[in-house]
Symmetry: C2
Subunit: 207 residues, 2 copies
DNA sequence: GCTCAACTAAACCAATCCGTTTAGATTCTC
DNA sequence: GAGAATCTAAACGGATTGGTTTAGTTGAGC
């Protein structure tokens, strides 16, 4: 593997630094995180940290970039395109919702939103390899299902975005705005089911 | 009007201070805003500012609270409950979308998300008097329309949230994540129309 | 014209933070 | 085990910030 990837990494504790930065940035955001905290968390001296990375801003971009691709990889797990919508959509919806409600998912979203003014490129990259990727894979499935005659959709990309959006109803805002009246498993299922019902009422065939 | 409202306001330049704080907080967020900036923006000395407000945090809470109620008032404009869904929903959807896409709406949302960890009570208040209020008024309408037999809805509140969520599709994330490929009027109409179409496909009666 | 409350500008304090430097310890390679 | 590369702890400089204090100004009411 070619390691000239980024041209700013040299020594052997690079991974430690990134991991520590990840932890602290996700916990405290960009402004809230201090470089001393990060160095402490990474069990590394500040001097070595600064031997890897020219400044805090670049460190953040590095971490955010890695997170984006990690997020992308997580969603690259294939879904079985042969299954009919009323079978596939519930499980896909659950996967989306579970991610958005996870500690990690909310932290990432929070930072992307908070830092989108300071770092527009970070926000965009997150969008493209987060929601964007989901929408892309979903569109792909919807296209084949439509070709099979199981769905009738004029604007496939729009339909995919609508479905993803429907999965966020109620629970995602509640989570983000810290109104965590115990996150119920049954509630999650209810939301996803209602998203599927709505989607099929609009784009389903027979039924 | 009783002016013992909050017990921390005294002098005559209180409004100036709040207005300056509003400007700077909305522009720079909580951490990004410096008290000196706010004082300068308000054309007030830092000493007077601190004679009104004990610290920066409380100032932020004060501003955020006022913004929340302002937001609430804006949506309290009555909508004509006698109109049928296919007439009322598009205009309601447009109102929601226009707010979310406005400079003010995005700034408020950004701050609420970014500061929801530091100030859970702010985030909650925003939710309740922002999305929460919209959902409440929408629910009210959906209930009467259902009573008139124009809609068939089991869970009214859920339906209201679904509609609001559908209005956010595509454009709201694009706006928040700074991918502002010119915000087209036609696009907005397209999103709202598709939201209405989906909603009526699920909950509409004969048509 | 005096008083008193609100205001101002500016200096100031203590804390924090980013980033650098120094002086030395550890580890890797040969 | 010598020497080079990498690391460490700690201190430091310079800048910013939240909040206080001081010394002085403005202006309305009497």
């Amino acid at each position: 593997m070619d390691e000239t990837h980024s041209s700013i990494k040299k020594g052997r504790k690079y991974a430690q630094v990134i991991e520590g930065a990840r932890t602290v940035f996700l916990r405290d955001g960009f402004e809230g995180a201090s470089v001393d905290d990060i160095a402490r968390e990474a069990k590394v001296s500040k001097a070595t940290l600064y031997s890897y990375v020219p400044d805090k801003r670049v460190l953040f971009l590095e971490v955010a970039g890695l997170e984006a691709t990690r997020q992308a990889d997580a969603f690259t797990e294939r879904m079985d395109e042969n299954q009919p919508p009323h079978v596939l959509l519930p499980s896909a919806g659950r996967k989306i919702l579970d991610f958005l409600l996870s500690d990690f998912g909310t932290a990432v979203y929070r930072i992307a939103v908070a830092e989108s003014l300071r770092f527009p490129e970070v926000a965009q990259r997150f969008y493209e390899s987060g929601p964007g990727l989901v929408q892309k894979r979903l569109s792909q499935y919807l296209a084949t299902a439509t070709a099979r005659g199981e769905l009738v959709i004029e604007d496939i990309e729009l339909a995919a975005e609508q479905f993803a959006e429907l999965c966020k109803v109620r629970l995602v805002p509640m989570r983000i705005f810290q109104m965590v009246h115990d996150i119920d498993e049954a509630q999650k299922q209810e939301i996803v089911d209602s998203a599927v019902a709505m989607f099929l009422a609009r784009y389903g065939t027979s039924r």
